[in-house]
């Protein structure tokens, strides 16, 4: 039917008449309905369809009380069930074919508050006139119901034939054109090549093309030049990084735990897995299987287990007072909600507390789903386990390489050692004679407590402090040793019942901190003149973290010193102090030992015993001594290794020692790598699975019926022959007949490329979700995706190769007025770039971008004090430690993500907090974004470096230099007017900076990277001003 603007006007007039008319012929109805849809700009068919037109109305306005939720149902009426809706009571809600007799219509039209539906106090808006007309037409046509479209497996329709068959590059275009042509509309012409390469580069790699890449594309005259470009982009490592971003949003990935103090976690190895998997082009079904159940696969390995980190990315609490089960329950619920949103576009959360109001999901079914995730051996409080040290798949070559080197040096050592190997037994026999120092316990001749404690010698020759217990203390003890030489002094802190916990310290908590240990000597002739003896090292059998024994010989009598966790561990302790040079002629000297305890809180040793060596032989270290005293057969492998190493160093020939050293160096290197591999949180199954209950109102302690794991009845059954666990769930999600998984993923890919999904509510395919703009296209793509074996790259190639994607995005006023969101696809995509892409593009433009795949998250520029300002509890909170060097310039997906303070410049550009699953970011346009672009040092520095490139690579003319920068930023050449404006800026600024070099310096000193000093200061500053201007162009932040 012809349709134009006048028709639309007429429609409005008729609509108002319609309200009056009582009897309207079926033909008239069809006519109006046609206009109605056309007016929406989306549909042009003549009879209302339940799924497309009616369900949304009933669902939104009626189902809350007359829908699937049995507990909330009023008057026993269900409008989601045709049988009940048409047979309910004396006055059925719906009398098929008879609108006038249908109670539903009377009610929605009524103005009487007692009769009217939805009721005035329901919070639901009354139906619009349009909606009422639709209902009326639908009832008149027989009120046929359909199952919800998204729960029916998609079928692939043949691509329709269209008038402009020559515009059809692939079936996508046929579906799109069919709809446009019905409305008498056309597609836009193809975008120019520069726009196209910029668009597809940004879409597939998250970075714009360089002028050289643009050049190459323009020059490539081959027919498949564009296809070659697409293939190149898809095979770039940048592709995986770019694809990972929306997946990290969906997976609520972050580098901190969320909640309260929001401390860091190391889950980045999982993030690397995602990048790796996308770059491998892992098919989506496998991608799904591994992330949901990689630990349960028949061929499970570390990599597949790593994938399950997906479901450990949720926030985890460390808040002391929480109730464990309450939080553990939250984690399980989070997994259900996230899985449902990401794979099925289902809003499952409703089912936590009651039957779903709109979709056929009962509360019981929610908990059946939750049972899959309720068998992880985990806790609520500090629930970080299960974890596992797994290497990043992006870094796995590091260990392989080092293992090769290790084998080589080991072989070398073997060769040097000869066929018989190293003579460890012989060496050990030497130890007794050579090395074992004898300890001589020595009783003090004089002793004094500076704090006034009473010191008394005990039966075991130890000294006990009693009586006054001063806040700080110093014990001064004189010894007389019958020895030629003393090479070391041993201090034993002995546990004593007089302390609060029967331990070693007099502190109120049983601990001590010996803040300094000093040895002095005086000759017997001059007993008053003491000289300090240098101590070279100290060793203890136990030291508290941050209170190592060497802090007692650091020369500082401050609060730092040796402590032993005496508040929790009450064992006796030993420390050995080795003199730099043995004390010679010791028998003729007074040895004075000063033990200082300046920590406070009476943290002094309660009872101690001193011993000295009798000769010059230095004692074995405590650890070696302990091994030495252990019979060989009782030594642990670790101890054997340690002891052999020590023997080797002591007795082996220089040649052997050298070869052994080489092994040690490589082993240490290897250990460093191994140590740098964090423990990633992964999924596992309990051996004794927890029982899952329905939780009344979703509360953790309101357990009701026991349920087993299962899937909603409205969806296909679980696959046969698989144990009923997460693996079954994963296999179920990727069953070819699953109606949702493929559609939902395809739709999100579409959303990523076009800005809006075919189903706009990409997070909700349920009955409250939006009707797809192109249902047949969505289904065609969904089936195609499964048939191409879930090949993600191929899917995207298919879409970006379409004529629809390649259209120009120039908007006419008519298009803007009639279809502002471009739902009809009469033009190419246009949208503001995502936060990460904006920053990455600036880094690329400036030449600063450091492209390195994967690894720990990094700390780029950041406003000072931002973390501390919202979270600064001493000992718990963290400060942001800004990186230096290349970590300032990594791609934004590697930026450390703290959930309670997300990276501020990215948050300003709508990046989510990552506290929960997000599959669709908002896209705003605010003054705060202007601040970031204008003032974030990252962008100011990038402008300075871009200016350097303009000056160095843009030729000799200012025009050429500006045009070069313009092309880097926008992928096109400036027109005359633009060039003129930019040049004016340059010249004005040049003059200014020539007159005022301080301004120039100030502009050019932002950022860590060095300035190219070969450039003239004023010129550089003036060009930096131009570069800042370029980076603030709307076009720079826009994909078009």
């Amino acid at each position: 039917m012809p349709f134009d603007d006048s028709g639309r006007m007429e429609f409005h007039d008729k609509l108002s008449h319609l309200k009056m008319s009582v009897m309207i012929s079926r033909f008239q109805f069809s006519l109006f309905v046609l206009f109605l849809f056309s007016e929406c700009g989306l549909f042009a068919q003549d009879t209302p369809q339940f799924n497309r037109d009616i369900r949304a109305i009933l669902s939104d306005r009626c189902y809350t009380c007359h829908g699937p939720d049995s507990a909330a149902r009023e008057a026993d009426l269900r409008l989601d069930d045709r049988d009940i809706a048409t047979s309910n009571g004396d006055t059925p809600a719906i009398v098929p074919g008879k609108p006038a007799e249908s109670e539903l219509l009377k009610r929605v039209r009524s103005n009487d508050e007692l009769i009217q539906m939805p009721p005035p106090d329901s919070g639901k808006a009354p139906l619009s006139e349009k909606q009422i007309i639709l209902l009326e037409a639908w009832i008149k046509n027989g009120a046929e119901y359909d199952d919800h479209w998204a729960f029916i497996s998609p079928k692939q329709a043949d691509a329709p034939t269209v008038q402009h068959q020559d515009h059809v590059r692939n079936p996508i275009d046929a579906f799109v054109l069919k709809k446009l042509e019905k409305q008498g509309l056309k597609q836009s012409p193809q975008a120019d090549p520069r726009t196209l390469i910029r668009r597809v580069s940004l879409d597939l790699t998250g970075l714009p093309p360089t002028p050289a890449e643009i050049d190459a594309f323009l020059k490539d005259q081959s027919k498949n030049a564009y296809e070659k470009l697409v293939d190149r982009l898809l095979s770039s490592n940048r592709y995986g990084e770019h694809m990972a971003k929306p997946w990290l949003d969906a997976a609520r990935y972050a580098d901190t735990n969320g909640y309260q103090y929001d401390l860091e976690r190391e889950q980045w190895v999982w993030r690397d897995w995602v990048i790796w998997a996308f770059n491998q082009n892992m098919p989506f079904d496998e991608f799904t299987r591994q992330q949901i159940a990689g630990d349960l696969l028949p061929n499970a390995n570390d990599l597949t287990r790593l994938a399950t980190g997906f479901h450990r990315n949720h926030p985890i609490t460390i808040e002391g007072g929480v109730i464990d089960e309450e939080y553990r329950t939250e984690y399980v619920v989070d997994r259900v909600v996230t899985t449902s949103t990401v794979w099925m576009g289902m809003t499952m959360l409703c089912g936590r507390c009651h039957d779903h109001k709109y979709d056929p999901i009962s509360q019981k079914e929610f908990y059946q789903l939750s049972a899959f995730f309720n068998r992880v051996p985990e806790r609520g409080l500090n629930g970080f386990d299960p974890r596992r040290k797994i290497e990043s798949p992006l870094q796995s070559d590091r260990l392989q390489e080092i293992d090769k080197r290790l084998a080589a040096v080991k072989q070398q050592l073997q060769q040097v050692a000869g066929a018989e190997g190293l003579p460890f037994a012989k060496w050990e026999s030497l130890v007794k004679a050579d090395e074992q120092a004898n300890w001589d316990v020595t009783v003090p001749t004089e002793m004094k407590s500076a704090g006034g404690a009473t010191l008394t010698v005990q039966d075991d020759q130890s000294v006990l402090a009693s009586g006054k217990n001063p806040v700080t203390e110093e014990y001064i003890v004189d010894l007389k040793a019958d020895a030629n030489a003393i090479s070391a002094i041993r201090l034993e802190a002995i546990k004593d019942p007089s302390t609060v916990n029967g331990g070693t310290g007099r502190g109120s908590n049983g601990n001590y901190v010996m803040t300094e240990f000093i040895v002095e000597t005086a000759s017997l002739e001059k007993p008053g003149q003491f000289d300090q003896v240098a101590i070279s090292s100290a060793e203890a059998d136990y030291s508290q973290k941050n209170y190592e024994v060497n802090k007692a010989i650091d020369g500082n009598i401050d609060k730092s010193g040796w402590a032993v966790d005496g508040n929790t561990i009450t064992d006796s302790r030993t420390a050995v102090f080795i003199m730099a040079e043995p004390i010679k002629n010791a028998g003729e000297k007074i040895i004075r030992v000063k033990m200082s305890f300046q920590f406070g809180l009476s943290h002094q040793i309660a009872r101690f015993r001193l011993a000295v060596t009798k000769g010059e032989a230095t004692p074995l270290t405590l650890a070696i001594q302990k091994i030495f005293e252990t019979p060989i057969e009782k030594r642990s492998p670790q101890q054997k290794l340690q002891f052999n190493d020590w023997l080797l160093r002591k007795y082996a020939s220089p040649e052997i020692r050298q070869a052994a050293d080489a092994v040690t160096v490589v082993e240490k290197e290897r250990q460093t790598i191994v140590n740098s591999i964090p423990s990633t949180m992964i999924m596992a199954e309990q051996t004794q699975p927890r029982t899952t209950h329905v939780l009344y109102r979703g509360e953790y302690d309101q357990k009701r019926d026991v349920v087993d794991s299962g899937v909603p009845a409205a969806l296909p059954n679980l696959p046969d022959g698989v144990p009923n666990n997460r693996l079954a769930l994963a296999e179920w999600l990727v069953k070819p007949d699953h109606p949702l998984t493929s559609r939902v993923f395809v739709n999100r890919v579409w959303q990523r490329l076009f800005g809006v999904g075919i189903v706009k509510t990409s997070e909700d395919f349920g009955s409250q979700g939006d009707w797809p703009s192109h249902p047949e296209l969505l289904d065609w793509l969904a089936v195609e995706f499964v048939e191409m074996n879930w090949d993600i790259k191929a899917l995207q190639k298919l879409i970006v190769m379409s004529g629809t994607y390649r259209q120009s995005s120039v908007v006419t006023p008519e298009q803007q007025a009639n279809d502002p969101e471009n739902r009809l696809l009469s033009r190419g995509p246009r949208r503001r770039l995502d936060a990460e892409v904006v920053r990455d593009s600036a880094l690329l433009a400036s030449g600063l971008l450091v492209e390195k795949l994967g690894g720990p998250s990094v700390f780029p520029y950041h406003p000072k004090g931002l973390w501390q300002e919202i979270n600064n509890r001493p000992g718990l909170s963290r400060t942001y430690k800004q990186d230096t060097g290349e970590n300032l310039y990594r791609r934004s997906l590697y930026t450390f993500w703290k959930r309670t303070v997300p990276p501020p410049s990215m948050a300003t550009f709508d990046a989510p907090e990552r506290e929960f699953c997000v599959v669709r970011r908002s896209r705003t346009n605010t003054p705060l974004q202007a601040f970031v672009m204008l003032h974030d040092p990252q962008f100011v520095e990038a402008a300075r470096k871009l200016a350097e490139r303009m000056l160095n690579n843009g030729g000799t003319s200012v025009d050429g230099q500006i045009a070069h920068g313009f092309e880097i930023i926008t992928s096109r050449r400036p027109n005359e007017q633009e060039l003129k404006l930019l040049k004016e800026t340059y010249q004005k600024r040049l003059l200014q900076y020539q007159q005022n070099s301080a301004d120039a310096t100030s502009l050019l000193s932002v950022g860590d990277s060095p300035r190219d000093e070969s450039l003239d200061l004023s010129q550089h500053a003036a060009m930096t001003s131009v570069a800042r201007l370029l980076m603030n162009l709307s076009e720079f932040m826009t994909l078009n």
Partner: protein, 492 residues
């Protein structure tokens, strides 16, 4: 149906335009660009992002009683027993074991669940009556005496959460777990901004002084699933007052103006070429950013305040980041039309040493809070401003630990907050707790749940909390979930 809304609904239904699928085409009263948008309605709606509908359109649901809100959030949770809930009965009960009949098996936090004794501790501070109303207020808060006749003390607040993170998240987003929009962002979404130069929703953090200070989280002023331009904008006491407000190159305003002029011209050229209305919005955003570079320093520079201001707020008000300075700043923001000001103080969590630590925090908070009310009043602003003061829960009547330097654990079953300003019945208290200040005696009739408080705040702003909704994942979400009733008893 709640009696209070019946009448109002009847009136307002005629005016109310829901955000139905048809859309009215009127721009959202969005956070930052509200005034800007009036000429370019479509671009603003688009700027909320594909799929995001504008907020409230048309008149408010009820005639609003206030235009703006200042929320003095006492994070960490002050003890109601030692501040506003006067309990002479505790004199006799002091030192006795809390009877099981009072505790009624209520769940305790992991911190005192293992405690063997639950000895009752009376307020460590005496109370006095103040003002004509004779409200009882602890001597710990002497300056509050001056506003006794202005504030309505709600003694029957209760919540469900027993730990800080979920409890404060519940207060400020209506949900214990992360994910929902904050109160202020709902207000921004519903009503938009009155200011052309400042955001609709500002957040002021204290420089916390207590070593046990509570952490905060961006989600407390975040926009959840609302478009992110509704999130609160932090006004900082250190560094740039608004993130990235200052140009690190120290360029002059003149230079900036020139840059913006050239930028606008270039952007205009592009818009003519490609017809993208979003470019216009961006030009407007840059213009507003320029204005903010002047308006924010002007706002935060209190040197134009007369000495009498500092007499009122105290010398602390000269030190950025103190509660007093933040209260003063809150007043200056309100004067400039900012809809919602969220002020945080976060030193109240005293599990030990409460009798020595509470007074220290009270001293930091008392004068500024009281001065704010007096100041708003003398400027004629109090009548259309709502001020709320309170923590995320109360503290237990029983001691955590023992001796004189005891602590009090978290107590969600009852606690006190106060409200003042337009539409509030000053000089009164609402609700009552039992002799132990442990349970609310009239919980069913006069208990005020978090959702009820939020419903009341919305009501005073002219919004029906049941009708200000946002469609997300198929559901029309509300600040108050499916709960909340307006607390009539606190209304004048």
């Amino acid at each position: 149906m709640q009696p209070i809304t019946e009448h109002d609904l009847a009136i307002n239904r005629r005016y109310f335009f829901g955000k139905s699928a048809t859309g009215i085409g009127v721009a959202a009263l969005a956070s930052l660009l509200a005034k800007e948008a009036s000429g370019q309605q479509k671009s603003l709606a688009t700027s909320n992002g594909p799929g995001y509908d504008p907020g409230l359109t048309g008149p408010t649901h009820f005639p609003p009683k206030v235009k703006r809100v200042i929320y003095l959030c006492q994070s960490g949770a002050p003890s109601h027993i030692d501040t506003f809930d006067y309990k002479p009965s505790l004199e006799k009960l002091d030192g006795q074991e809390l009877p099981a009949s009072v505790r009624m098996g209520q769940r305790l936090t992991g911190m005192t669940a293992g405690q063997k004794s639950f000895a009752v501790a009376k307020s460590f501070m005496p109370f006095q009556q103040h003002g004509q109303s004779g409200q009882w207020i602890s001597d710990m808060m002497p300056h509050h005496g001056k506003i006794a006749d202005d504030i309505c003390i709600v003694k029957s607040m209760h919540t469900e959460a027993i730990n800080h993170d979920p409890a404060i998240t519940f207060f400020q987003t209506g949900h214990q777990q992360p994910g929902r929009p904050s109160l202020g962002s709902w207000v921004s979404y519903g009503l938009g901004s009155e200011s052309e130069n400042l955001p609709a929703y500002a957040v002021l953090l204290d420089k916390n002084s207590d070593t046990q200070a509570q952490p905060l989280y961006s989600r407390l002023w975040g926009s959840g699933f609302l478009p992110s331009n509704h999130q609160g904008v932090k006004l900082r006491s250190v560094g740039d007052p608004v993130l990235y407000l200052n140009d690190p190159t120290n360029a002059s305003l003149d230079d900036k103006r020139q840059l913006l002029d050239s930028l606008s011209q270039l952007n205009e050229l592009r818009q003519q070429e490609v017809g993208d209305p979003e470019i216009q919005t961006r030009i407007a955003a840059y213009e507003m950013s320029y204005r903010m570079q002047m308006s924010v320093p002007e706002l935060t520079d209190t040197s134009d305040e007369p000495e009498s201001t500092f007499d009122l707020y105290g010398e602390d008000a000269k030190v950025p980041g103190t509660h007093a300075a933040n209260c003063l700043l809150a007043r200056r923001l309100s004067e400039r039309g900012v809809r919602f000001v969220q002020v945080y103080h976060r030193g109240w969590d005293h599990h030990g040493g409460l009798p020595t630590r509470h007074p220290k925090i009270a001293k930091e908070v008392d004068q500024g809070s009281s001065a704010l009310i007096q100041d708003l009043k003398q400027r004629g602003l109090l009548k259309d401003t709502l001020v709320i003061w309170g923590g995320e829960f109360g503290r237990t009547v029983y001691k955590q630990g023992s001796g004189n330097n005891f602590g009090r654990d978290h107590h969600p079953r009852c606690f006190s907050i106060w409200m003042a300003g337009g539409g509030i019945k000053g000089g009164t208290s609402y609700g009552e707790t039992d002799d132990f200040a442990y349970n609310i005696v009239d919980r069913d009739t006069r208990g005020v749940h978090v959702h009820d408080l939020n419903a009341t705040i919305m009501y005073l702003l002219g919004m029906n909390h049941e009708r200000l909704t946002y469609r997300f994942q198929g559901r029309d979400y509300r600040l108050t979930d499916v709960h909340g009733k307006v607390v009539k008893g606190v209304l004048s």
